[in-house]
Assembly symmetry: C2
Homo-oligomer: 314 residues x 2
């Protein structure tokens, strides 16, 4: 019997870092990437090509990207919100792009100051202008819910996909729960509709947030529906710009824990991941999330504190 | 189309309080029960009849129970671990008992100093000795995983149920994830096997812990399998004795949030529940959990902080 497996995409170095105020030195970022790689992570969103005024934390993505060439087995992806930024990224050596746009007009305008259909045009021009061997993923933000407009009907998301998917049929499609307000039935329903409508998509991915505690339930619902690629952020780094003080991305170590308990391989070693998650959570200005980090640390402390005799008595 | 519904059983006043050191005054407990009732909770585990040396926090369960008679619509249930304690509870006026025992021998011995089959005998004598109109629930602890013995095979849990269910076929059966280490596939699998084996059980319940972040995913898996009764603790009160510092029970407000997002009725008003959850989380000595409390409070703060003009600009 073949073991089932999933791919966990580490997005902490992009989605996790971008909201952190104090600049994380480039060498710290690089050292952390190396440690994540050693723990078994093979696809990492290492940064973004965006305005360094808007996101000063990621102004060194170019240098981080250059360093990544040293690890040929690392699939380093970078986020881009426009044709111009996409071309910049490719010129800087990026081999995998993540083009982000929102289903919701209000959110897309807030993010990139244009209508979603203008972003579709931008994507089309980007795809036409870069080599076909550059890996492509589409991050469909507000695929479920918008911080400004509320719940997004499934048909709005699939209509946008109608326009996007033919542009590059081999692109990975990642549905993003930007606000963390999707529920597992909603995740299952939209994925079911989308998978039926676009049977030739080679890879579906899910980007879940844990803001309202539903992150892992949504990942599970996505898994049951057939998704095998999941975004996560070590230590649950990320926060939620729409609910300041609340948590954001699902924690990588929580996903690894869940899938391993279910007998699903991730290729990731949770042993070294937990101290890394602690380190990430302790970054100045970080807003961490996740449960497994504390649960495993606490269990370990307890085991260390018990003498063999005490263990027999327990 | 009829709206689907679930019943959320508030266990904070028992499972949440029992680990809190500083004694919560009886009048505080009663006031809190009243507020929970006003928020729409109709079944509450209000305490336990156990050794007051082992669990001094709940030494006033008898008085709390007497007060509950003032709210005829409140279904107050009390936990008992033995025949003796069960009789005591009934003599004190309890109308609904929760008899707890563990599948795992190590855990049952740790909890009640006897083999699970001795507990079965105890249960049998209790059932024989009390009126049939006393409501009965069985809490099957370590139904999935034991802090001492690890993963519990499904067959061990169903074998114990083979002995228990015929004793009182109308008892509600609650499968408890004592350690929080069940995963959603495990929950679905055990429930599927148990429901098929015991088709005449009138009510299945699930007691999920969020220690490793899987609480809501497990509740969702239980719901998909047909469970309609779920335990939860307001503010996620509870902690985990086997991973000190980690969280325990799933938070009532998180469950209410999830089910409402899914269009499932709970009869509970999340508006007054969130400040109650904050109050519970702030009890001296409390170990809270859950996400919705912070997420909703943060969203509200943000809305209040924004002037209408700012909202238009956002």
């Amino acid at each position: 019997m073949q073991t089932q497996s999933v791919e966990i995409v580490e997005v902490g170095p992009r989605d996790g870092y971008q909201g952190i105020g104090p600049f994380i030195p480039t060498e710290t970022k690089i050292k952390f990437l190396e440690q994540l790689f050693r723990a078994g992570l093979r696809r990492i969103e290492i940064g973004s090509f965006v305005s360094s005024t808007a996101v000063p934390q990621l102004r060194d993505t170019r240098e981080v990207l250059q360093w990544c060439a040293k690890l040929p087995d690392l699939q380093a992806q970078v986020l881009v919100p426009s044709e111009r930024r996409g071309r910049e990224a490719v010129d800087a050596g990026a081999r995998r792009l993540v083009f982000v746009l929102s289903v919701s007009e209000a959110h897309n305008r807030n993010n990139v100051r244009r209508h979603p259909l203008e972003s579709v045009g931008d994507y089309e021009r980007l795809v036409a202008g870069i080599p076909a061997e550059i890996g492509m993923r589409l991050d469909i933000a507000t695929a479920f819910d918008c911080p400004f407009a509320g719940r997004v009907p499934e048909a709005e998301t699939t209509s946008l996909l109608d326009r996007l998917i033919p542009i590059r049929p081999d692109a990975e499609i990642c549905l993003c729960d930007t606000t963390g307000r999707a529920d597992p039935d909603h995740v299952g329903r939209l994925l079911s509709q989308a998978m039926q409508r676009f049977p030739n998509v080679t890879s579906w991915a899910l980007h879940a947030h844990d803001t309202y505690g539903l992150g892992l339930a949504n990942v599970y619902a996505g898994f049951r529906q057939g998704v095998r690629v999941f975004d996560a952020s070590v230590g649950g780094l990320g926060g939620c710009p729409f609910a300041p003080g609340a948590t954001g991305n699902v924690a990588t170590e929580d996903l690894v824990w869940m899938f391993h308990r279910m007998g699903i391989a991730t290729g990731i070693d949770i042993g070294p991941l937990v101290p890394l998650a602690r380190e990430a959570a302790n970054l100045p200005g970080a807003l961490p999330g996740g449960r497994v980090r504390d649960a495993i640390s606490a269990s370990n402390e307890r085991c260390r504190a018990q003498t063999p005799e005490q263990q027999v008595r327990a």
